[in-house]
Symmetry: C2
Subunit: 155 residues, 2 copies
DNA sequence: ATTGAATAGTTCAAAAATCGAAGTATTTTG
DNA sequence: CAAAATACTTCGATTTTTGAACTATTCAAT
């Protein structure tokens, strides 16, 4: 019934099983995103999905556990594709907001729908399992971001 | 109580929430593995964990959703570190088995223990949630591998 | 058996992603 | 107001991943 025996996954601790599942899904999603028509990389897709509203680049960097220069590169690609523009944050004119263009919003809507489908196919979970998984994933994400960058202690 | 509102995660579909959680955890684990004393990359750590018993390189490649040459490189690094050796598979002398050395087993045991701790800290889940998450992750992984490479249709 | 096609893994050069240090502009602190 | 800190960019360097050509072995078909 369950084919865990073939993969040898069943002998490992829950934590390791969880990690392996996460890796498998990540890699699968990476592969799938790359093969979507958009011509965007996974990082670009992810950034696009995050931009439901204008966000500061620094916030996005913290959110994606990466350095600012990576966000610069990703934003450049999306700007070149015509999906977003940079605007000074009126609250703090050092910062830039990434703002989706109309075209960017259209691309994002498409992508969000596509990504939902993609997760469904990749994971093979039904609706109830998905919502259960989402609940835990949300909790994990909050924990990761909380412990992510201890407020200025980048060192 | 729950700080989903700050991260704006709550408005998205469960599928997207799940994906974002997976990304966050992946990135966090990547970062954490890199900072473990071993001096191994995440890919190297992961391969090491998989080698509870000798495995063929091709199987590992399929398992890690990557190409053979990446496994070659990763195995080279682990071999240089003295953690594994290559042995011809007697079943099929084209294939090579990656076999842990004694030192490799020791490193793996250490790593497995460490990784469990690491998942615990990174995810912030309690034991019950972890086992719940592991169950779903196992299911996801089986689905991913099933649909992974349709048996020789690499094109 | 012999030959041709397929498969397992390697090599190595190229492509892609990521980083980090130095630079510009703006804000905050004292 | 000056000095320090912060936000982002630039760009060259490092790291990771890839893919195509190659060697060795097996499999399939006659």
């Amino acid at each position: 019934m369950h084919d865990d025996t073939e993969t040898g996954l069943d002998r490992l601790s829950p934590e390791i099983q969880a990690m392996m599942g996460v890796y498998a899904l990540y890699w699968k999603l990476e592969e799938s995103f790359a093969s979507i028509e958009t011509g965007l990389s996974q990082q670009e897709c992810h950034l696009l999905v995050k931009l439901d509203q204008p966000k500061r680049m620094g916030v996005l960097a913290a959110d994606m556990l990466t350095v600012p220069s990576t966000i610069t590169a990703t934003a450049d690609a999306l700007a070149t594709a015509g999906y977003l523009t940079r605007e000074r944050d009126p609250q703090d004119r050092r910062a830039l907001l990434l703002v989706l263009t109309e075209q960017g919003h259209a691309a994002r809507d498409m992508l969000v729908a596509e990504a939902g489908e993609l997760f469904h196919r990749a994971s093979g979970l039904d609706a109830q399992e998905t919502s259960q998984f989402a609940r835990l994933a949300r909790k994990i994400r909050n924990n990761v971001l909380k412990s992510g960058i201890p407020e200025g202690l980048t060192k």
